[in-house]
Symmetry: C2
Subunit: 191 residues, 2 copies
């Protein structure tokens, strides 16, 4: 990809996230974004069809960044933390969110966080399935798979949201533990 394109794309993302930390998505105009990013009007529309697409692309980038970072732990680390346990992936996710690289939490905690939340939840699905539904016994299940998967994803996102609303007072470990205790009893419950 042309360096010029990269620079422009990044400038727009930066300007956009800066604005998102100060006001709602709906209240941000394309005009403001291009002013903030110091980029020509034509250039913006050459990159993004609409403001909605910009947000979508940003979500995609941020989510990939979170996942890559949270997953990319060396083997030594994985042993130390006993990363074969189902919770550890979520702990890593939380730990990475806590660092707030790239101001991801700005986006998640902003008032109009819905689009990013939805994106987050949808993409969590795959992860949840691989963590909790490996060799899962459908016979024993008390709830439909689909309902359960949705419930777990939703609970994770809501847990993060609650944490943010509390100014992240709890440690990553404590939060991961809350999440685990909200989910595990449901998985192990008898009919």
């Amino acid at each position: 990809m042309d360096r010029r394109q990269q620079k422009t794309r990044q400038a727009i993302f930066n300007g956009f996230t800066t604005l998102l930390s100060t006001k709602n998505y709906n209240q941000i105009s394309v005009q403001e974004i291009i002013d903030e990013a110091n980029v020509g009007r034509t250039t913006f529309y050459a990159h993004f069809e609409t403001k909605d697409y910009l947000l979508k692309e940003l979500c995609k980038d941020l989510f990939n960044h979170i996942i890559d970072s949270a997953m990319g732990h060396p083997e030594a680390h994985r042993h130390y933390w006993d990363c074969t346990a189902p919770d550890s992936v979520f702990l890593h996710l939380i730990q990475h969110l806590q660092k707030n690289d790239k101001h991801i939490l700005n986006l998640l905690s902003s008032e109009n966080n819905d689009i990013f939340r939805r994106y987050f939840k949808e993409n969590l699905r795959e992860l949840v399935i691989s963590e909790y539904f490996h060799g899962y016994d459908a016979e024993k299940a008390t709830l439909p798979d689909d309902y359960l998967i949705n419930h777990i994803c939703a609970t994770f996102v809501e847990t993060i949201d609650w944490w943010l609303s509390k100014n992240m007072e709890e440690s990553a470990e404590v939060l991961a533990n809350y999440f685990s205790r909200a989910i595990e009893p449901v998985l192990t419950a008898d009919k």
Copy 2:
């Protein structure tokens, strides 16, 4: 309140909900609303400061309607259904939602349902507290009250959302049961 005001308010609400069932909130302009409602521009702004306030007012109206309808059951009915059980209130809520008076589900299932969802969740709080936290023993609690309350509210909203995404195939009773089974094990879990 003046009858003219009532009529206008209702016309705007109707036009707005009609539009909401066809397109996203962001993509609806005030112009379209007043065209659909067949109401003058000045009139709209005399009633609602902005489009956002309109949505807020609509949410308020709809939520009050749901709660009033779901709660307003005669004593006989309450005995028949054993309404002292904590789940029954939620069953009533679901049953009422199922009827889809006033096209509430249109709003809940539309792509941009976030504002209503948030309103719904926030206002559910009080109900959840009175149902699940009456004489609740904080000593035995495995999770912070606040986290738990949030978790229950979120789970209810997510349950409804899941149901809608599945075209409401399950009966109200089955759905209330899913909800219950997602929540109860967490409440009764040991430390």
